[in-house]
């Protein structure tokens, strides 16, 4: 079923210093593309008083300085920009990133469950998960955590009933049709199928996160041995993080 996108975007106040532009109420590539395109367009327009933009699945948060602009003024400006977006050819300015993942075993304690759940072998799950290119819909939850979509229906799996108190850094998980990567150790209920040695977040770097909304991520299956080699290279700062295309 095709997810819904509103006929026209909704503008919603968010307290005294922000507003939301909402394009839909479901996860959809179309709504997310509109969010990201508007994000780009507002950045380019450099509107007075706009302090920060936060793109998420289906809406864009615009944080502003109430001493420099107002809700009404901004809605007026942004509507103008939004209406001129060429909705037929939305170009998202994103990079392509390949994330190496060691699937299964200690690194992916839920891989066997996901396989069993769908009557597949673990190898088939790995193939299905690593075959696709995923859109980065948004970054949230913890610093640098990318929400990626959407996994093939054959491997979409509900969250754990009781979340784990600690999911190790680098863990790659599935929650329904979403997949994501834990940049740091955190509590979480996603089904963990593998782990990457790549460091996704570093507050000493600019930008601090490897992945941003609008990027494209592809997973690559690696062996436990390769994991160790890459892990060491990452520690030494020698692993090429981006495979630019």
């Amino acid at each position: 079923m095709k997810a819904e996108v509103y006929k026209s975007a909704r503008y919603l106040p968010f307290g005294d210093n922000a507003l939301l532009v909402e394009f839909g109420d479901a996860i959809s590539l179309e709504a997310n593309s509109l969010v990201l395109a508007l994000n780009e367009a507002i950045l380019k327009a450099d509107i007075a008083g706009v302090e920060e933009l936060v793109p998420t699945y289906r809406s864009l948060l615009v944080r502003y300085n109430p001493l420099k602009t107002s809700y009404e003024q901004l809605v007026f400006c942004i509507k103008d920009i939004e209406e001129t977006l060429d909705k037929a050819t939305l170009e998202i300015d994103g990079k392509k990133i390949t994330i190496p993942v060691a699937y299964g075993g200690d690194y992916g304690p839920d891989l066997s469950y996901v396989a069993e759940c769908h009557g597949l072998s673990e190898e088939q799950v790995v193939k299905l998960h690593s075959r696709r290119e995923y859109r980065v819909y948004m970054i949230g939850f913890v610093a640098g955590f990318p929400y990626l979509g959407e996994v093939p229906d054959e491997i979409a799996t509900p969250r754990l009933e009781t979340p784990r108190l600690k999911v190790p850094a680098g863990s790659v998980g599935i929650a329904e049709k979403q997949t994501g990567i834990y940049p740091c150790e955190a509590p979480g209920g996603w089904r963990i199928i593998g782990r990457t040695p790549i460091k996704l977040f570093n507050p000493l770097q600019q930008p601090p996160a490897l992945i941003k909304s609008g990027d494209t991520v592809k997973f690559k299956s690696i062996s436990k041995r390769e994991f160790k080699i890459i892990e060491n290279a990452v520690l030494k700062g020698e692993y090429p993080l981006l495979s630019k295309e």
Binding site: P13, G15, D16, L20, L53, L67, F141, V142, F145, A209
Partner: protein
């Protein structure tokens, strides 16, 4: 060179400035002082920049030895500060000498106090801020709260000849009752009319699950129409989320940057700062205002913060 040595860290003392702006899109919270007004006042009382890093003290203050002569100011929740065991004034410039011991009583009237030091605290600038984001384990002193033995360094600046104090009428008085002015939305349409009315006509108690990330509040159940979740969208401090159990959660400065519960309303900036002084068992009442009123109130507040330096007086 270090300015203070921490003898006892207190309950939860962190280095904070005005926070990390511009990184929400990477999932990095704003962080920064919970009570912006008291924080800025602390800096201005030692003629610092408003954004210089201070200590944010929570409920039980630290004990610290002064290692080099400097000036400090203490603001925020009533913290009963002492220098060498003698009561010291809040909201004014204080001189401290090498060997002095700064200590605190329990904080009453509020939840958080600020200790500024002339020159500002020097911790690494990470993503434009020195604030500790303890959950993310970065910023401040090694990404954590203070512990005994920590050395705190301040930037060197000449001692002030004129000591400053805050005029009494500008010193906020914190009680255990808070009124939070809110703008309805962005997802108020997911609640029944009765639910919205419940939210505005009842007091909510701050539970013990209250920290820099947010406060879980307890009170009459706020009724959703049907669903109690949304496709996750962005959060800012002040947002009031209501999960399925109908009990509101007030989002504060270290909260995650996105969330999947509908937000019935958002508290305006001046009141988010005020609520930085709310502690468990305190009462919060929500009062609905229009966007226009919100703008007036917040402009007045931001102007006050801008003009505060000029409003300080010379200490007697």
């Amino acid at each position: 060179m270090a300015t203070f040595r921490v003898i006892n860290p207190g309950l939860f003392t962190t280095v904070q400035d005005l926070g990390r702006l511009g990184y929400l899109k990477y999932g990095v919270p704003i962080s920064g002082a919970m009570d912006t007004f008291s924080f800025i006042a602390a800096n201005l009382l030692v003629a610092n920049d408003p954004n210089d890093a201070c200590l944010e003290i929570t409920l039980i203050g630290p004990e610290m030895q002064v290692l080099a002569k400097t000036q400090i100011a203490i603001t925020g929740g009533v913290a009963s500060p002492k220098i060498n065991g003698q009561n010291a004034q809040m909201w004014e410039t204080l001189d401290v000498e090498e060997g002095d011991v700064i200590s605190f009583g329990k904080i009453y009237g509020g939840c958080r106090s600020y200790l500024s030091v002339r020159g500002g605290i020097n911790t690494p600038l990470l993503l434009g801020s020195r604030s500790a984001y303890v959950r993310g384990m970065f910023g401040g002193i090694n990404g954590r709260q203070l512990k005994a033995g920590d050395m705190i360094e301040a930037f060197a600046k000449p001692v002030l000849k004129t000591r400053l104090s805050m005029p009494t009428e500008l010193v906020p008085k914190f009680t255990n009752q808070f009124t939070a002015h809110v703008v309805l939305g962005p997802q108020d349409d997911m609640f029944t009319e009765k639910g919205v009315q419940t939210f505005f006509s009842n007091p909510y108690k701050v539970s013990f699950e209250a920290d820099r990330m947010g406060y879980r509040l307890e009170g009459p159940v706020i009724e959703h129409k049907t669903k109690a979740d949304i496709v996750s969208d962005a959060l800012l401090p002040g947002a009031v989320q209501v999960p399925k159990n109908g009990q509101p959660i007030l989002i504060m400065r270290d909260a995650q940057t996105t969330g999947g519960y509908p937000k019935i309303a958002v508290v305006i900036s001046p009141d988010v700062s005020l609520l930085g002084q709310a502690k468990p068992n305190d009462i919060v009442e929500f009062s609905k205002i229009t966007l226009k009123q919100a703008r007036e109130k917040s402009c007045e507040y931001f102007k006050l913060l801008k003009n505060l330096r000029g409003m300080l007086v010379k200490s007697k």
